[in-house]
C-alpha cells in the first residue's frame, strides 16, 4: 500500500472513531442509577406478573396494602390501621392523601378494583388462586375496606402484597402511561423498550418520602459475562445476584466496587419421586442426604454464597424451627442405610453399583456442575447417577408430570409458611399444585390445614414447627442450601439495604455520594 493510501486510511479510521466512538456520560453523577437486569420483565401489570424481574420493578412502581418485612411478616404500607372483625372479616383503613403517579387520589375503590379485576377469570391472572377465599370487598367509605372471606385464612395479610392499580375512569389523558403501569409507589414509569431498558423516575409525591435519586434505568443484559463487563466499564452501577462465584472473587479484589452479602430466602433442594420403588424407601432418601457433602459444594462450586438449609423456610423466617433432624455428610452411614434398605453393594469396592438413578436438571451451567458433583458423591456410596439436563420448558414439563426420579431446583422468595400447602398437601399434586413427588401424609394435611386457619401467631408457630420436624424426618426433599444474596455496586451508591428476599425496594432510600 502506498504511504498516502495508508495515511488516508488512518485519518478515516480516526475520524470515524471520533464521530462514533463511545462517549459515555456519567449518569450516576446526574442522579441516574443504572441497574443491571438479567431478563426482560414479562408484564408490569402486578395482577399478571409472576417472574422475578417484573416483581422487582413492580415493587417500586406500586404501593400495596401490606409489604413483607425481613422475617416474612406483613407490615402496613398504604394501610394506616386494621382489625380482624371476626375470623373471616377484616377491616382496613387506608391512609389519606396518597396519590397515583398521574395525580389522582388513591382510595378504597382502587383497592377494590385491583383485587376484583384480578379475581375475574376473564383476566386469566396466575395469582387468582391465592385470593380465592375472598368473597366480597366492600367500601363503606372512601378510605375503608371490608374484606369478607369464605373461610378463615391466617396468611391473608401477607397475600395482600399486591400492587394497587388506578381504577379506570374512562378519561384517558394525552401521553398517559398504559393503565397497567400507573401506581403510587416511590418511582413512576417513564418508558420501556422491550429487551433493552426500563426507565423509572422518582415520584416526588410518594407518601413514604420522595426518593433521593432522580431516575433508575434498568438495563436488560441477558448475558452473564457482558453484564459484568458493563459493571466494570461503569455503564451499570448496581448488580444484585446472578453473578458467577469466580467472577465475584475478582470483583471483591477490585476497589472500584462495594460488595454486600446477606443470607437470602431462596431455597435449593433435591426432590424425590416418592412413587419410585427405590426412592419410596425412607432409608434410601436418608442415605442420599448423608451422601451429599453440601459444605464442599457450597465452598467450591458456589464460592461460599450459600448456607446449608434445614428446611423450606430460612432461619430468618418468623416460623422457622431450628430443632429438626439434620443430615451431615457421612458416606459410611449412607452405605449402611443402603445396605439396610436391601441395596447391598454387589462387589464391595469394585465398580458395580447398587442401583441406578436418573437425575434431571436444567441447562444452567452452575446447575450442571452441581449435578456433576452430586453424581460423583452418590457414586462414592454406590449409587449410579445418570444426569440429564434439559431446556427449561422440557425440564419443567417432566417435573410437573412426575416424569423423574430425582431433580434439583430452587424455590425463590419463600416468606410465608402457608407455602407448605402448595408443596406438600395431598391436594397439591400436579396439576393442582407443586407436590411433585406425590408426598402423602394425612397428619401433614391436617397440620397444614390447621396452620392456615389459626389466628394466634404462637399457635401457628407451634404447628409449623411440627410440620418442619416431620418433613425433616420423612425427607420428601433433601434440603441443600439457602442462597446468599449479593450486591455489587459503584461505591458512590449509598444507603442500599440488602433484603433476604432480594427485592429492590431499598432503592427508594438510596442516594448518590
Amino acid at each position: 500500500m502506498k504511504p498516502i493510501h495508508l495515511g488516508l486510511l488512518c485519518l478515516t479510521t480516526a475520524t470515524l472513531l471520533a464521530l462514533f466512538g463511545c462517549q459515555e456520560d456519567d449518569l450516576l453523577g446526574k442522579g441516574i442509577l443504572v441497574v443491571g437486569l438479567e431478563a426482560n420483565p414479562t408484564n408490569l401489570d402486578p395482577r399478571l406478573s409472576t417472574d422475578a424481574a417484573s416483581s422487582r420493578i413492580n415493587e417500586l412502581l406500586f404501593s400495596r396494602l401490606f409489604r413483607k418485612n425481613e422475617a416474612g411478616e406483613p407490615v402496613e404500607d398504604i394501610v394506616e390501621d386494621w382489625e380482624q372483625v371476626d375470623p373471616t372479616t377484616y377491616r382496613f383503613r387506608i391512609r389519606e392523601g396518597i396519590r397515583f403517579h398521574d395525580g389522582r387520589p388513591l382510595d378504597a375503590r382502587d383497592v377494590r378494583y385491583t383485587f376484583m379485576s384480578m379475581m375475574d377469570p376473564a383476566l386469566g391472572s396466575p395469582l387468582r388462586s391465592s385470593y380465592q377465599m375472598i368473597e366480597t370487598i366492600e367500601c363503606p367509605d372512601p378510605h375503608t375496606l371490608l374484606f369478607r372471606l369464605s373461610e378463615p385464612y391466617a396468611s391473608l395479610l401477607i397475600n395482600l402484597d399486591l400492587g394497587i392499580l388506578a381504577r379506570p375512569t374512562g378519561q384517558g389523558a394525552e401521553g398517559q402511561a398504559p393503565a397497567g403501569h400507573i401506581g403510587s409507589g416511590p418511582f413512576q414509569f417513564v418508558s420501556w423498550t422491550q429487551n433493552h431498558e426500563i426507565r423509572l423516575k422518582a415520584n416526588p409525591g410518594y407518601f413514604g418520602g420522595a426518593p433521593r435519586i432522580r431516575e433508575i434505568l434498568f438495563k436488560i443484559v441477558p448475558d452473564d459475562t457482558v453484564r459484568i463487563l458493563e459493571l466494570r466499564k461503569g455503564t451499570i452501577h448496581f448488580l444484585q445476584n446472578d453473578i458467577e462465584p469466580e467472577v465475584l472473587r475478582s470483583l471483591e479484589r477490585d476497589s472500584r466496587f462495594t460488595i454486600q452479602k446477606r443470607q437470602g430466602t431462596n431455597y435449593s433442594y433435591m426432590g424425590f419421586n416418592l412413587k419410585d420403588p427405590i426412592l419410596g424407601a425412607l432409608k434410601v432418601r436418608q442415605a442420599v442426604a448423608h451422601a451429599i457433602d453440601r459444605k464442599a459444594i457450597i465452598e467450591h462450586l458456589l464460592g461460599g454464597l450459600a448456607v446449608p438449609a434445614t428446611g423450606v423456610l430460612s432461619s430468618l423466617n418468623w416460623s422457622y424451627e431450628p430443632a429438626v433432624e439434620v443430615y451431615g455428610y457421612d458416606p459410611e452411614k449412607a452405605k449402611r442405610l443402603l445396605d439396610e434398605a436391601g441395596h447391598r453393594d454387589p462387589d464391595g469396592p469394585g465398580p458395580a453399583k447398587r442401583f441406578s438413578l436418573t437425575y434431571k436438571t436444567s441447562q444452567n451451567e452452575l446447575r450442571r456442575r452441581i449435578g456433576e458433583a452430586i453424581q460423583g458423591l452418590l457414586g462414592e456410596v454406590g449409587i449410579d447417577v445418570k444426569m440429564r439436563s434439559y431446556e427449561w420448558g422440557t425440564f419443567f414439563s417432566d417435573i410437573r408430570k412426575g416424569n423423574f426420579q430425582i431433580y434439583t431446583l430452587t424455590w425463590v422468595g419463600i416468606t410465608d409458611p402457608d407455602i407448605y400447602y402448595y408443596l406438600f398437601h395431598s391436594k397439591s399434586i400436579p396439576p393442582d399444585g407443586a407436590n411433585r413427588g406425590t408426598y402423602l401424609n394425612p397428619e401433614m394435611d391436617q397440620l397444614i390445614e390447621r396452620g392456615r386457619v389459626l389466628q394466634d401467631r404462637e399457635e401457628r408457630k407451634e404447628v409449623y414447627g411440627r410440620i418442619q420436624k416431620i418433613l425433616a424426618r420423612e425427607l420428601p426433599y433433601v434440603s441443600l442450601w439457602n442462597e446468599v444474596n449479593v450486591v455489587v455496586a459503584d461505591p458512590r451508591v449509598r444507603g442500599f439495604v440488602l433484603r433476604p428476599d432480594g427485592d429492590f425496594l431499598s432503592l427508594k432510600d438510596v442516594w448518590i455520594e
Partner: protein, 310 residues
C-alpha cells in the same frame, strides 16, 4: 422480467407455507404446556382450563392449524401468550433492530471481504494473500459467542472506544455487526479469491492484457463483474445464516431484536410468537434470494428472465 417476478413471488407462497407448517408442528410437539408456564403451578384447574380455552389450545391440533392459516391470510398472527399483545406489534418492535444488525453485518463483511478477496486473487501466494486467508480461517473458526465478549473486552473495556452492549447510535452497532459478520466475511473473502483466480485465467483477460489495457481497467471492467456472480450467490445464502446467527449475537450484546424475542418465546412455549418470528425470517430469506436472482441480471446481461413462450 415481470412474469418472472410474479412467478417467483407465487413460488414463495408454498415455501413460506411449508415453513409455517413445519414450525407449527415442531413447536406443538415439543414438551411443555404454555398455559402451565404462564399461570404457574398454583393456578386453579378451572383457570388453567379457561385460559386454555380462551387461547384456543384445547381445540384439536388440525383446527388450531386451520385457525393459524386463516389468521395468516388476514395478516393476523395472533397474540403473544405471555405478553398478551399482538404478535405483529412485537415483530414490528423487534424486527427493525434485527434487520439493522443483519444489514450492518452484511455491509461490514462485504467491505472487508471483497477488497481482501480481490487483492488475494490478484496477488496470489503473496504475503497479503497468505495473511488474508489465515484471517479468513480464523474468522470462520471463531464462534460468535466467543468473539463477541473478546471484542467487548478489547474495544469497550480496555480501549474504551465503544459501548459494551445495548442499542443506540452507530457506536453501539459496530461491535455486534462485526461479531455477526466475521464468519460471513471469511467465507466471502475465500469465495471471492477463488472466483477471481478462475476469471483471471480466462482467455478474454489474456486478450485484454495483450491489447495493452491497464491492470486496474482489466480488474474493474473485466474480472470483477464476472467474478462476482458466484460471490453474489454465497452472499444471498449467507443472509439466512446471518439472520439465524443474530440470535446469539443479540443475546450477547443485549440487542433488542427478533432473536432475543424468539429465544424467550421458545422457552415459554409462546407458540404465536415463535410462529410469527419464523415466518418473518423465512419471508425475509425468500425475498433476499429473489433480490439476489434479480441482481444476476444486472451484473450479467446474458442472464435474462423470460416469460413462458407460446
Amino acid at each position: 422480467m415481470h412474469s418472472y417476478l410474479v412467478r417467483r413471488l407465487l413460488l414463495a407462497v408454498p415455501v413460506v407455507l411449508g415453513v409455517a407448517t413445519l414450525v407449527f408442528l415442531l413447536i406443538h410437539l415439543i414438551p411443555g404446556d404454555p398455559v402451565e408456564i404462564m399461570l404457574g403451578e398454583s393456578a386453579l384447574p378451572a383457570d388453567r382450563d379457561a385460559l386454555r380455552e380462551a387461547l384456543g389450545l384445547d381445540r384439536p391440533i388440525l383446527e388450531q392449524y386451520g385457525s393459524f392459516l386463516w389468521g395468516l391470510c388476514r395478516g393476523d398472527l395472533g397474540d403473544s401468550l405471555q405478553q398478551r399483545r399482538p404478535v405483529t406489534t412485537l415483530i414490528r418492535e423487534h424486527y427493525p433492530a434485527t434487520l439493522e444488525l443483519t444489514l450492518a453485518a452484511m455491509l461490514i463483511s462485504l467491505l472487508i471481504a471483497l477488497p481482501a478477496g480481490i487483492l488475494s486473487g490478484i496477488r496470489q501466494y503473496s504475503v497479503w494473500d497468505h495473511s488474508t486467508m489465515f484471517l479468513a480461517l480464523l474468522g470462520v473458526s471463531m464462534p460468535n459467542f466467543w468473539l463477541g465478549p473478546l471484542l467487548i473486552w478489547v474495544f469497550s473495556i480496555q480501549l474504551g472506544w465503544f459501548p459494551v452492549s445495548g442499542k443506540g447510535g452507530l457506536a453501539h452497532l459496530l461491535l455486534p455487526a462485526l461479531t455477526l459478520g466475521a464468519s460471513m466475511a471469511a467465507i466471502v473473502a475465500r469465495m471471492t479469491r477463488s472466483s477471481v483466480l478462475e476469471v483471471l485465467r480466462e482467455d478474454y483477460v489474456m486478450t485484454a492484457r495483450a491489447k495493452g489495457l491497464s491492470e486496474a481497467r482489466i480488474i474493474l471492467k473485466h474480472v470483477l463483474r464476472n467474478a462476482l456472480l458466484p460471490v453474489l450467490t454465497v452472499v444471498g445464502l449467507q443472509f439466512g445464516a446471518l439472520l439465524a446467527g443474530s440470535i446469539i449475537t443479540e443475546t450477547i450484546f443485549s440487542w433488542p431484536g427478533l432473536g432475543t424475542l424468539m429465544v424467550k418465546a421458545i422457552q415459554t412455549r409462546d407458540y404465536p410468537v415463535v410462529q410469527g418470528c419464523v415466518l418473518v425470517i423465512s419471508m425475509s430469506y425468500v425475498l433476499v434470494n429473489l433480490l439476489t436472482d434479480l441482481l444476476y441480471g444486472v451484473i450479467d446481461p446474458r442472464i435474462r428472465y423470460e416469460g413462458i413462450r407460446e
